[in-house]
Amino acid sequence: MTQTAVQGAQAPALNRGRLRAGLQQLLAFASLIVIVIFFSLTSDVFFTYDNLVNNVLVSTVVVGLLAVGTTFVIITGGIDLSIGTGMSLCAVMSGVFIENLGLPLWLGVLGAVLVGGLIGAVNGAAVAFFKFPPFIATLAMMLIAQGLALVISHTSPIYFTKAPGYIDLASGSIIPGIDVPNAVLIFFVTAIIAAILLNKTIVGRYTYAIGSNADATAISGINVRRWTWVVYVIGGLFIGLAGVMISARLASAQPATGQGYELQAIAAVVIGGTSLAGGKGSMVGTVIGSLIIAVLNNGLQLISVPQEWQNVVLGCVILFAVYMDMLRRRER
């Protein structure tokens, strides 16, 4: 076999691969554009700066952060059901640190994020070291986190009064002159960091490898247990960050708000083209998926579709998005 044969095989495959990867992102993005155009035509308010930034983008933040974190977990072939109630627990702990214990702002925030990391560490240990199926391990954690959030907060909200800066974390705007809330900035910055982590570092590489074939990865000399654990911890840190953002936005830690967010976040990941079977997925897709969910929720409200019907629409969108994705994969 000659050198020319090698190169001959290379060129077309390369183009096809790139094209396909591009297409996936394009498809999700195109759906987003179509939805945006639809609502722009059907509602006067939708396509205004105020609505797009202060409603759509702001409401993307929490679901988006959870989705970004859980993308790692899902690419390994796992699932994390504890992200919603875990977020409540982190929010409550943030309240405890800052309001009840009077810790400085930065320390309170750090503490809350680390509580998220701890949730992830426990999930990760259960999955990686004790071999619980991820669904079971995180289902248990979902209940535990919900219970603890209620117990610690005595079932009532904790209002942030002592540290006014806390609320600014989400609603303030550090870039002078441009009216974009910090929460939105934080979301996009962390999403970019997550994308780099997933695509350019060994953490990301092993995330894909484990989801693709965990046995093969182990046999190749990689410590699959440790890296699986690391992935759940990363997911946990995002739970913590989401807890801080949601409580800052609401100016209070609500012990029961998180429930249901896990499904929205998983939906965002799936709409973004990540496979629940593991091995496949992208961060850009997840961000677009989160935006699609936020735009739908906001737009449907604006055109006065009742809350009950919004879920019906979202369900259909999930089916549609995943079906398109399957068609695309089958095509080759």
């Binding site: 076999m1 090698v6 095989a9 390369l14 691969g17 570092t201 060994i202 953490v203 693709s212 046999i219």
Partner: protein
């Protein structure tokens, strides 16, 4: 280390037994041993896989390890690769005792392995697979995709393998995937290279490429353990042959001083009836399946043939010739763009394999892991899977006892080596998994059976059993298509041979017209008279064909 020593063009004649480097002529002194295994035992629940196993690998040699399916070959290799830990026994590397704590440690000790079952990450690219765990990085953390692909390109150039570093492994054919595994194993610069049935998925030309690689990368400081069920290969590549049976050491023979007959009888512990030919001279005149003008968008072009009752029709051709594609198009696993399929004289539409099966066409895929088995289910369940409707009573209830009886019968007839029919298929040795697939289709009782590489990974004894089984099925009046990359098998088993090249059927040969030369000729017969003829495959085939 495996470094380039020999001449890349392979001046050595292909048939010669490459033992001319002197290492083997000397009597073995303990310093000559690269690797020694002594008294190693390993037990799985209900199975004593290895019992006081013994193995010695000399420096500079290729040691073939042979034994029936389930003899314990892969288990021993997994112990060496750090995948399992032994219950007892010792490993010596260069005369020093080592404890192999895990795959990573094995790599560090210089032991590199190609596992029998594919161990690739399908969603990663070729280069990412090969350098997994050793990716070129900036610092500890950041990956350099560019350096990664450059390293892989350099490796492929050195090995002369036609692989694209950036392609996803899931898009590759089985043979190409095997090449990726080979490249991965060689990339470690290991001292002990273990290959567990590396050629099971390769055709003769590709086998020749692999053997060439092994010869070029062998040095006086390295050793290769080579596992294969293809006896012709052992003669060509190995210096010595170690035989094991039922987890126990039997004997080690010098290849040049033994015959394959001797090896085989040591392996199976009995004399084999060899060279069974089909019982009947021809199939009947009754056409069961007629394929007319079958084409697909990707590859197939105007494939037409008829299959008779009681006939075994062999399909020969190079990798990528389209033999598997024909089978897949017939049963509706792939869509065809033109053509017609007639079953017993009436035109049928078979949109998917389950409709095909319902119409009495069974297809045994070459890729048993993906299309053949439920790996995490029991043997019994797998055997009954295609014919569950046969075992339903009172409308809904499964007749579990009847299933168990059938499954036991099948385990018996095919000599599937398993502690019970309740064993999970995953825990069977590779060859025995293949037998489970065959059992499944025998239970289904189809009129037309398409066997795609039916003896891949199957030991000689079991191969003979499968041949006899095919003959019996044909004699009973089934119509059989047998796709195989092993020419001797095609020649021996077929009433007629269909030869394919680049998606076209280039010849339909009667048994007396078919021989190595004629098949090679038609397998490389390109329809395009106009274009410049690419000589590579033809040259390769001739090389392979001279064996």
């Amino acid at each position: 280390m495996f470094t380039l020593t020999g001449d890349p063009d392979g001046e050595e004649p292909y048939v010669s037994n490459p033992s001319g480097d002197g290492t083997n002529a000397r009597g073995p002194m303990s310093g000559d041993y690269l690797l020694q295994v002594s008294g190693v035992s390993k037990e799985f629940p209900g199975v004593k896989a290895l019992d006081q196993m013994h193995l010695e690998l000399r420096k500079g040699e290729v040691l073939a390890l042979v034994g029936e399916n389930g003899a314990g070959k892969s288990t021993l290799m997994k112990l060496l690769a750090g995948v399992y830990t032994p219950d007892s026994g010792r490993f010596l590397l260069d005369g020093e005792e080592v404890e192999i704590s895990g795959p990573k440690h094995a790599q560090e000790l210089g032991v590199s392995i190609i596992h029998q079952e594919f161990n690739l990450m399908p969603d990663l690219t070729v280069a990412q697979n090969i350098y997994i765990g050793r990716e070129p990085r900036w610092g500890d953390f950041l990956l350099s995709e560019k350096r990664l692909n450059e390293a892989a390109s350099a490796l492929f150039e050195r090995l002369e393998l036609p692989l694209d570093p950036r392609q996803k492994v899931s898009e590759l054919t089985v043979a190409k995937q095997q090449m990726v595994e080979i490249a991965k194993a060689l990339s470690y610069d290991a001292r002990v290279l273990i290959m567990d049935e590396p050629t099971a998925a390769l055709n003769d030309a590709e086998v020749a490429v692999l053997h060439d690689l092994i010869r070029r990368f062998r040095t006086p400081e390295t050793g290769v353990i080579y596992i294969s069920h293809r006896m012709d290969e052992l003669k060509a590549i190995s210096d010595r042959i170690e035989v094991i049976r039922d987890g126990r050491y039997i004997d080690t023979l010098t290849t040049s001083e033994t015959t394959m007959r001797e090896v085989i009888s040591l392996m199976v512990g009995r004399e084999l009836k060899e060279n069974v030919r089909p019982e009947t001279e021809h199939g009947t005149d009754e056409v069961v399946l007629a394929v007319r003008g079958l084409s697909t968008k990707e590859l197939l072009h105007d494939v037409s043939f008829e299959l008779h009752r009681g006939e075994i029709l062999g399909f020969a051709g190079l990798m990528g010739a389209g033999r598997t594609e024909v089978a897949r198009a017939i049963v509706g696993a792939d869509r065809h763009s033109a053509g017609e399929i007639e079953l017993k004289g009436t035109s049928v539409r078979l949109p998917n394999p389950s409709v095909a099966a319902a119409n009495g066409i069974g297809y045994l895929s070459e890729d048993r892991k993906r299309f053949g088995l439920l790996l995490d289910q029991r043997v019994g369940f797998n055997v009954a899977l295609s014919s569950l409707t046969k075992y339903v009573g009172l409308g809904v209830f499964m007749k579990d006892n009847a299933i168990r009886v059938t499954a036991r019968e099948m385990v018996e007839t095919l000599r599937i080596k398993t502690p019970s029919i309740d064993q999970t298929v995953q825990n069977l040795s590779g060859g025995n998994q293949q037998k489970v697939v065959i059992a499944k289709w025998l239970v289904k009782d189809c009129d037309v059976l398409i066997f795609d590489e039916p003896t891949r990974g199957i030991d000689v004894g079991a191969k003979e059993e499968i041949y006899q089984l095919l003959n019996r099925l044909a004699a009973e009046g089934k119509a059989i298509i047998m796709i195989s990359s092993e020419l001797p098998e095609v020649l021996r088993m077929s009433h007629r041979v269909a030869v394919m090249c680049e998606g076209r059927l280039t010849a339909l040969l009667a048994a007396d017209e078919a021989d190595q030369e004629s098949i090679m000729h038609y397998a490389t017969l390109r329809p395009d008279v106009l274009g410049a003829v690419d000589e590579t495959p033809e040259a390769e085939m001739q090389e392979a064909g001279t064996r």
